[in-house]
Symmetry: C2
Subunit: 206 residues, 2 copies
């Protein structure tokens, strides 16, 4: 059979790691892709997790203007949701526009509010770039995600401000600080994030 390659947006967290595993279980050849704006090198945490999980990994640098625009949105709104949504849509578009990319995927879940493409936006992404857009977690609730990640991964959970990972929001928080704004005025005070450290020992690895 011809290999089916998918380019999967990846932060190193448990959702995007679970989605990557599901894609591999479905027979896809998975390449993980972490976005950066070049402000920080926090993409290295995603790379480290990708290596521990055994998936190939690349870094996709997006124009810094996108992060700056996201910063303006977050400051204007007083909360980060639309800014995170904006970055995610631009990241999917940048990935889908690469000539070798036929399938793009991410770890967005049924119960997520942001980032999440509604049905018209999902179809528009596919139509504009001629790709398939795959969201392995979209039909899964929190119970199912918890039981699968619990079986698969060793996970570290910490406050967002303390956790070293490769989410968009790390560079967004950094940009806000550079502009003299305390991220805690915009992001929720208590916001736990996860980072996958590796496979559990008894997992059949892809």
């Amino acid at each position: 059979m011809i290999a089916m390659k998918v380019h999967h947006l990846y932060s190193g967290g448990k959702d995007s790691s679970l989605a990557a595993w599901i894609l591999s279980q479905l027979g896809y050849e998975v390449e993980l892709v972490t976005v950066t704006f070049g402000l920080l090198d926090n993409w290295r945490y995603a790379r480290e997790t990708a290596e521990r999980l055994g998936f190939p990994h690349r870094v996709l640098e997006l124009p810094r203007e996108i992060l700056e625009k996201a910063g303006e949105i977050a400051i204007s709104d007083g909360h980060p949701n639309n800014a995170i949504q904006f970055i995610h849509e631009r990241a999917l578009e940048a990935l889908a526009s690469l000539p070798e990319v036929e399938r793009v995927s991410d770890g967005t879940r049924r119960d997520d509010r942001v980032p999440l493409l509604d049905l018209p936006k999902a179809r528009s992404l596919e139509d504009r770039f001629g790709v398939a857009y795959i969201r392995p977690l979209l039909g899964l609730g929190y119970k199912t995600i918890r039981e699968l990640t619990g079986r698969l991964f060793v996970v570290e959970i910490r406050e967002s401000e303390e956790l070293q990972k490769a989410d968009y929001e790390v560079e967004l928080r950094h940009l806000l600080r550079e502009r003299g704004i305390d991220p805690l005025e915009i992001f929720p005070k208590s916001h736990y994030q996860s980072r996958v450290l590796g496979w559990r020992e008894d997992v059949d690895r892809p």
Copy 2:
């Protein structure tokens, strides 16, 4: 590890068969469940396909009043969408209410209009019955479903009126005929349905 059992609504078509395969790839122990109202024995087509695919199968008989109510809805609306949606919700509830059932699933897809539970209805099903509701195809578009089913299954595609399968609509059409109504006045004229005949020879079977 403890077995994770899921009860999966199953018609023998390619969507519900693909969803069953995905669940098995995720480590679930899958039992297929086909609904009947006792008018016809078209559930036998689903059982035959379930046996060819190697999954255990059960038949769940729903009260005939549900089909009669669906018939009234279809006649009143002049199209079958709300009737099919009504049956599907009652089928999920009946399955979720069985004491041994912890996880229910179905083959509904991102691009389906009916049957499809919106997010509040999906969460309500989970909360009312204390189950997890899993939709393996919800994050997949038609391209992805086509490439996966093409790899996995030998599929027969025919006009709905000709195809022998175990969809809700077969008994709904029958009920309408019993009441002197031509189903073609209510269902779309040209409506192709699929039925899975078996695995492709080169598939790693679950």
